[in-house]
Amino acid sequence: MVDRRLACLGVAALLCILAYMTIGLRGNIGFVLALRATKLAALIQVSVSIAISTVIFQTVTNNRILTPSIMGLDALYLFGQMLLVFLLGGLGYAALDPQLKFSGEVLLLMALAAGLLLPMLKHRIDMGLMLLAGIILGVLFRSLQSLLARLVDPNDFAVAQGASFANFNDVRTDLLIFAAVLTVVGVVIAWRARHVLDILALGADSATGLGVTWSRTVTGFLLLVAALVAVSTALVGPVAFFGLLVVAVAERIVDTRRHAMMMPAAALTAIVILVGGQTLFQHGLGNSSTLGVVIEFAGGLAFLVLLFLGSRK
């Protein structure tokens, strides 16, 4: 039996998808539909990967206001992009095989996340220190990126800039198939681990007592989060607060933290907000504003509200 609230979310997501595909159809319908379908596929992938990665990350760190991007994971990704532009030049960067480049980036991001986090986990250092390190590293990578941005010539800079801002109008469709495989694999792993995630939410001691080997399990999940962050950042660029917003909203809707409910709820909420918002902005408001800005604004507000509510408890 599927929960009623989850079913409602599913219907809402379907309606948004239908609206996105059908509103304002004109001209060569086959061409328009194909164009929209590829964009839609990218938006759904981004929604799902951001939602799932944020849920897992919050569970593992036992912290409701953290997202992988606050920890600097996407800053790391963008620094990699800028470094490539710097080393190869704008032309060389553009000439790279996108799929080869992307798979390299994903592996590199996972390796760096592991290299950064594993030594800390091995010595059973507490999450607080790890998060602090993550935030500082995020700042480091952002600064390094802007340093490189000042060193490259303006043409190359324009190429790199395209990768550094969230843009839901112009998604990278060339990576779609490859990213889809990664997203599906990630989602399957996360779904199969939904009960383990419930146990991890109880904390290290309780999880160990219930037979979950803490450091190994957490490492696995952090690698999964890194891969999912790479997917969404590669497709649309960095979004800091979107994950936080959808997880907070989804948790209010399903009113539980069980992952069997939370993960689908967060993914569907993300689809509603992203696809629905994109439809509204393209057709309702005639592209007069940018969805990315509005989502970040709403997400930032959600962040402050959570912070405020948390501090009053």
Partner: protein
Amino acid sequence: MIRIENVSLKHGAASILYDISLDIPKGGITALIGPNGAGKSSLLSLIARLQPLQSGKISIDGFPVDKTPNRDLAKIIAILRQDSIVTSRLRVRELVGFGRFPHGRGRLTSEDHAVIGQSLQQFDLTDLADRFLETLSGGQRQRALVAMAFAQGTDYLLLDEPLNNLDMYFSRELMRSLRAIADDAGKTVVIVLHDINQAAAHADRIVAMKAGRIIADGTPAELLTSETLQRIFSFDMPVITIDGTPVVMHFR
């Protein structure tokens, strides 16, 4: 049987446990007592492999805790720590259900549901089963956590100060429940207690620790004398006997 051989523990330069050896046979309630900082909780978390063993050996029913796979140990021994955090938005029944995780990796069979119902009943939680944990009082939450450890269905149950936050009535109820599962289900309970009179009334054996060493070990009647208690807690307290149970007048 839990067998502890020559276990020492250090945090940096500070020594927590000095060369502890102790056998806890199967069955009955063993109470660990001693002043704050004696190393009781550390010993408990070493037995339950929450901390890596630095030196010495610990085995449970012949399984060494540092070499046996984690998920196998979870079917033999359950632990409740004193600072278990519960932040997730969870119902009592869901939390108790987590105790069944080692058996089905999260899929609950009808047998699991029966065990969960039984644990809820054992710890007087049936009426609270569908409440969210965050709406419960500290004592009710504590009972839910004990019920979760009991639902794990292990032969050995380690409890670190489970009477914290409990009023007199529920302290007695919890100790009686533990007595019942030790007598009827043959469970082995190792419990850290600060209320020495609860230990006197319900435990079969008391092990006293001080400054990282075991300094006394015996039945309540043997151990609870003014001289021994003076050695353990470093102050004088009279002991009287009511109906064959020693009562320590530590509060005067």
